[in-house]
């Protein structure tokens, strides 16, 4: 259950930062991306997928959360 930080980069893209791995990767797909429900399966640009317990309503960014490897 690594701790990650989700933030927007300067071009407004959603970025997932995994401090333990010094990894900053673009989120290429997010299962739930609505105002009411946000989270679920996260796919990163390198193909890795993580699961974030969906949150309601959508949180403000940046946002720190624990995620599960899928």
């Amino acid at each position: 259950m690594p701790l990650v930080m989700l933030r927007k980069d300067s071009e407004g893209r959603l970025i997932c930062y995994v401090p333990k791995k010094d990894l900053e990767a673009r989120v290429t797909a997010l299962e739930h991306d609505g105002e009411e429900l946000w989270g679920g399966r996260l796919t990163l640009e390198d193909g890795e997928s993580w699961y974030l317990e969906p949150i309601s309503p959508r949180p403000g960014l940046p946002f720190e959360a624990r995620v599960k490897r899928i």
Partner: protein, 480 residues
Amino acid sequence: MSALTRAEAEGLIQEVLEVYPEAAKQDRARHLAVNDHALERSKKCITANRKSLPGVMTARGCAYAGSKGVVWGPIKDMIHVSHGPVGCGQYSRAGRRNYYVGFTGVNTFGTMNFTSDFQEKDVVFGGDKKLAKVLAEIEALFPVNKGISVQSECPIGLIGDDIEAVARKSSAEIGKPVIPVRCEGFRGVSQSLGHHIANDSIRDWVLEGVTRGESGPYDVAIIGDYNIGGDAWSSRILLEEMGLNVVAQWSGDGTLAELKRTPQVRMNLLHCYRSMNYISRHMETKYGIPWLEYNFFGPTKIAESLRQIASHFDDHIKEGAERVIARYQPLVDAINDKYRPRLNGKRVMLYVGGLRPRHVVGAYEDLGMEVVGAGYEFGHNDDYDRTLKELGDATLLYDDVTGYEMEKFVERIRPDLIGAGIKEKYGFQKMGIPFRQMHSWDYSGPYHGYDGYAIFARDMDMTVNNPCWQKLRAPWKKGA
């Protein structure tokens, strides 16, 4: 000689690895690579931020160096105690050229060395009582200090001292912050963890309880500029000229008041990502302050950075950025006209800490020079991620390079200039390779900003083109 081809560079790496015992060879192979523009992620080609192999002559330092030497040390109105034996504080005293102005010994303490000078009895019986006394004595002799940080040396963490308790108690007694920092030298694999620990201690002991302040529209902070040779000043002058209000410098020429004031800014401007991304991310999470990486080495990157910074502000700032760029353009042209003919096509190898191997590439290119090899002493993969695109395809990459490897690479590549540290300097000069220290600016600087670029150009020229390099062989041996 032109740069190596990919095949030559890969061959060179294999050749250099030959000498290692098997296990060490496998380890080092992961840290040596040839740049590939096709790659998005550095981890596909290079491993970083791992333990150095024993016995190979790494240039790396320790967590204490990263905390006391880099992050905390420059905060000028606090006293930083080297807690433990006498050596660490002595070797790191006043060597980093993180300039400040102040009454040293009265309200600023940057070039001094405060230590608890551990003796055997302190190791055997514990050093907490001594520390408490040290803190009290500091307060008596230097009453204008704004606070004290306790920089742990190796023994502290091994003998089970409770410096946090001592710090809390002393802090209550003297009514000033006393900050325990667990930066024992054996923690982590390099200076890098020391940066992180120092960032965390600022988060927990300085920013704790500080709320988001009233923000002026143009308030920014300079983060990760240690004012080496005055770098932060030659950066600040540009930011102010474009209309921004710089309320804090982290940590070169910095003060405790500035650190505490930072949560009021609109944006954190981050120069050294490696050593201060942690606190920037923290302020982003806690206060919602965005941060932006910028690069003030060389006119191309400076202009790019000024515009990028300005893009987050209103037209007043955007016009300010353009005005600054236009104002300095004649200077840039004059510098380039003067120095490019002398430096054009010269090849550079770099081996620096955690930022400059990528950040100075543009400045060299502005002078017509080419970086043919680069490596970080303590970079992580996110640093290499940021590096791949800055460097030419097939450039040699070396992480935590050993003395042996670097010598072999240089023997083969024979660059026209090497930019690295003092431990590398004299050996390469003996080999006849012009060398500039790229940590301390070789006692020159600043190199940041337009004023700094002029000095950078002058320095590279004087070193590359000094007549001494033509005198290596005795004239009676020339025919041989």
